[in-house]
Amino acid sequence: MRRAQLIALLALGTVATFLLSLMAGKVWIAPWGLAAGTPEALVMAELRLPRALLGLVIGAMLGASGAVLQGYLRNPLADAGVLGVSANAAFGAVLALFLGLSATPLLVAAFGMGGAVAAMALLALLAGRSASATGFVLAGVVLSSLAAALTALLISLAPNPFALEEIVTWLMGALTDRGWPQLWVVTPFAALGLGLLMLTGRALDALALGEAAARSLGVDLRATRWLVIAGTGLGVGAAVSVTGVVGFVGLIVPHLLRPFAGERPSALILPSALGGAILLLLADSLVRLSPGAGELKLGIAMALLGAPFFLWLLWRKRELIP
């Protein structure tokens, strides 16, 4: 498939899932012809529209970060979730909730981004020292466990059962009841992060040939590293601080699209952003349709969908992991 065709198709899919996300729910609402002032119009304006936009922004961010990380580390296992970036962002955000800052979403996001940038910087430094793919993923797993332990520590120190309930519910990951304020917090940082990641394309293509080859092609590896750290840290950190941990998007989407987009890492970034948005919007529409009075948590649904799918993918093409 030609690249332009692929992108057009994915863009079309994004628009379609965005519309689906506006309509789907316990009550189906058509986004057109709504009379102002009715509960349906209010639900559309105050809840569904910001929620769908959040899904779009966050899905795109997670998808693109997966494609860039896999290219930069030359490792198909790389993803913000696997490498512990999301877990450290979650730890930062939980720290903010623990300190009673939940009333200031911007501060929660700042803590989340702090955690994500710190984890990314540590990993990038490690990657600079040893190029071994196994060592790198191992370091990510260790960072992830550390963040999980620190988060559990904060939970066990929670001052009262209500703070505990707030933290635990948030950790499960969801877009439920998020509105405009959260969208305004995430969007600038996600856009900035996405922009920085887009800039790495040429360097990633050169890196595919190895570090020495990339250097000889005139790629500034230091600058590339900082672009990846800042882009992933800001974007994933801000996204996690609003939704909690929603995994698998960055891992699955690049694998799904690589057969169509080709092996060149730069050709995969934009399609992965669109694919991530489609996947997240689709999953978020599905959780709203779950039976019962409540809603399935998006983070849980993503793991339930993502894990078996990824295992199947590994099974089918075992040469995927070198």
Binding site: K26, P39, L42, V43, E46, L47, E166, T169, R288, E295
Partner: protein, 260 residues
Amino acid sequence: MRSFKVIAALIALWAGAADARPQRIVSMNPCVDAVLLEVADAGQIAAISHWSHDPAGTSAPLEQARRFPAHGGTAEEVIARRPDLLFISPYTPMATREAFRRLGIPMVSMGVPATIADSLAQVRQVADAAGQGVRGEALVRRIEAALVQAHRPQPRPALMRMASGLVPGPGSLSEALMANSGLRSVAADYGFAHAGLLTLEPLALKPPPLLITDRPEAVPPVLKRLRVPVAGFDRRLLNCGGPSLIPAAKQLAAIRDSRP
């Protein structure tokens, strides 16, 4: 002289009974804490649970609770106080319970009551175990009187939903108390058969006639736009029943009587 002997014997019996009252009661159950503070002598209580010292969690008046030492809930802290009566809950971990059993500490387990009758029975059980049956009965009378006073016929429909989204739902003590105070819960209309989380969407699509919430200042913008009438309610009063039923019934009745 014979009648004097009988009286003397009765006094001895009464004194003996008083001595037989547990003198070092420890409670690991915040709901029992609230009852103990009402029925036991101050000298009988060795320690209460740490929840009762927490302004956001206590089911008893905070100042009253702070007059007694609290423990953190580990077996060590409890054993160090050498209790002669220990109140636990169904949520006390198995290992902790086992440690008490090995040491031969007398234990009474109390759950979280789901109905008003359960709650009153629990008050009596706690008071009896503490050797204060008379005061327990008096407390039950006070609660019953408060419920009668708060009783309102002609129920007004309302939904109780905490800021976290939690809806107590059918079969809960909260709904029983609402019903007594003249508030008909509409939780079942949103598909609740028991407690659960209610998201904003179904709530906005079917605005409740009256929303009772623990944080009226934090009502989501979409409900404000729909001009849903809101009443604030102290969530701590619904955790346990027992003595807190008195202010709870009063608050709910005041909500029922407020102008629509």
